[in-house]
């Protein structure tokens, strides 16, 4: 529902009043912003000492800082990429076997899904970090992060896959059975390819969640973006400037991804009107 149906189209007087009110609220917001800037300036947050390493290529710390942060960002993307890949594979297996397997197995899967969904992701990451060496798996620290994130996200992806398969019209599987395909064939060559198409927007949104959660790598000292930032802050002493920069990079990447999700969703829904896709409630919308 667009907001405009809530009230009549404004007349000339109402328009004038709205313009005054806009000017006043705009000024109030600007004043608040200016106050923040003023306080920061008084606290000495706009000095060259604090910004130089970040913005001035001539500064002695410029090159090392950007190399450090760049490697951190690569590590973040790497961990996020592996996590979403593994989550996709395991999530699909969970979703498929849950649909087809025996009752006791279904119950076991539901149990695992509930357990993993109810536990904070930071606990899962720390658990992977601490428990893997105990059982004799001595992997590099990135894999602890990837395993923790995968454990958390694979069950969400399983739900997305299930919703994707459910959203397909029944005629698809009926037609496939009618031409003599077996259950596995129907799933692999008819339902899954279409389901993945319908799921694409939800998957991209989930990637945003995974990217944000890689920042929890700092709890296990994985050298990702935020952790590298912290290292730099210890040496340069400019937390506000660096966190501002880190936040900005995250916002740019994630905003682009969410726009991409909206775009693919629009493209897909234009393509096939017949299968009204029921949007699964994604974790991206809950801040998980």
């Amino acid at each position: 529902m667009s907001e405009s149906v809530l009230y009549e189209a404004p007349g000339p007087r109402a328009k004038l009043r709205a313009r005054y009110a806009s000017a006043v609220t705009g000024l109030v917001l600007l004043a608040a912003f200016a106050w923040v800037i003023y306080r920061l300036a008084r606290a000495g947050e706009f000095t060259y000492d604090k910004w130089g390493p970040l913005i001035d290529p001539g500064n002695e710390n410029f090159a090392p800082l950007w190399t450090l942060l760049g490697r951190g960002l690569v590590n973040t993307l790497l961990a996020a990429g592996w996590s979403i890949l593994f989550s996709l594979v395991i999530g699909t297996i969970l979703a498929l076997t849950r649909v087809t397997a025996a009752a006791w197995y279904r119950w076991a899967v539901v149990g695992v899904i509930e357990l993993l969904r109810g536990t904070p992701v930071v606990v899962l990451i720390f658990f992977a970090y601490q428990a893997l060496p105990v059982v004799g798996l001595d992997l590099p620290v990135m894999w602890s992060l990837v395993i923790g994130l995968t454990a958390y996200n694979c069950v969400i992806i399983a739900e997305i896959v299930r919703a994707g398969i459910d959203s397909l019209p029944k005629g698809q599987s009926e037609a496939a059975y009618a031409v003599g395909m077996r259950r596995g064939q129907v799933m692999v060559s008819v339902l899954l390819p279409q389901a993945f198409r319908a799921m694409l927007p939800a998957l991209i949104s989930q990637l945003v969640v995974v990217l944000k959660d890689t920042s929890l790598g700092f709890t296990i000292s994985y050298p990702e973006f935020v952790q590298r930032g912290e290292t730099a802050i210890e040496n340069l002493g400019n937390p506000i400037q660096l966190y501002l920069f880190i936040a900005l990079i995250f916002i740019v990447i994630n905003y682009t991804l969410s726009k991409l999700a909206v775009y693919t969703e629009r493209r897909l829904s234009r393509g096939r009107r017949s299968a009204a896709t029921e949007e699964p409630e994604s974790a991206a919308a809950t801040g998980d």
Partner: protein
């Protein structure tokens, strides 16, 4: 498992602190989130821009970065408070973006015919919203809002990882790193603590969801 039985009072206290953080942050985030949602549907352009910027920033920024910012940025503004206060406020601000979107999408889910009908019988903007739109929107706001709150409870562990201190996660970490207890039983205990909150909350939510569900 002995470590859990011996130290159960520590875990209980940690659970209490976690619940307290969630209660304060939950109340604050509802107020802020509703206000931001109001901004986003307001007829004034600066307020709408402010609401959009707020949601874009807090939805796309990792909670860890928000919390770091609270810890370093707020003191630079000349305000001093404890980690507990910073952590709780940071958690609330981060969650408010999702609360706002849940409320806004709930308002959007009411069919436009409802508002048109209300206007055609002569109701004004305030009356339309208060008497016709919001009562219907509440039903579709509750399920996503509940999911947001459950996610917030889990996210409170991140605030704990920052050293709010005394919450369930922090208790577990202290037990294993400072006192050298075996990590696996300790973490199982911590996970159980969260599950005790999140699973009943999830069940309650799906019950309420069925109750308020309406065929449209």
């Amino acid at each position: 498992m002995q470590v859990l039985i011996d130290n159960y009072h520590l875990y209980l206290r940690g659970l209490g602190t976690t619940l307290r953080i969630c209660l304060y942050a939950g109340l604050l985030t509802l107020v802020v989130g509703t206000f931001i949602a109001g901004c986003r549907v307001a007829p004034l352009t600066p307020l709408r821009a402010f609401g959009t910027a707020w949601v874009t920033v807090f939805r796309n920024c990792p909670l860890a970065v928000v919390l770091f910012f609270m810890a370093f940025g707020i003191p630079a503004l000349g305000v001093n408070a404890s980690y507990f206060v910073f952590g709780t406020i940071g958690l609330a601000l981060y969650t408010s973006a999702f609360v706002c979107e849940a409320i806004r999408s709930g308002i959007n889910a009411v069919s436009p015919g409802q508002a048109e009908a209300a206007r055609s019988v002569g109701l004004g903007f305030g009356q339309t919203l208060r008497l016709v739109i919001l009562p219907q929107a509440v039903r579709s706001i509750i399920p996503p809002l509940g999911s947001v709150m459950i996610a917030m409870i889990k996210n409170s562990a991140i605030a704990g990882a920052f050293g709010i201190g005394g919450d369930l996660y922090a208790v577990g970490i202290r037990q294993s790193s400072a006192q050298g207890e075996a990590i696996i039983p300790v973490l199982v205990g911590v996970a159980l603590g969260y599950l005790i909150i999140t699973i009943p909350a999830g069940l309650l939510l799906s019950y309420v969801e069925r109750k308020v569900a309406i065929a449209r």
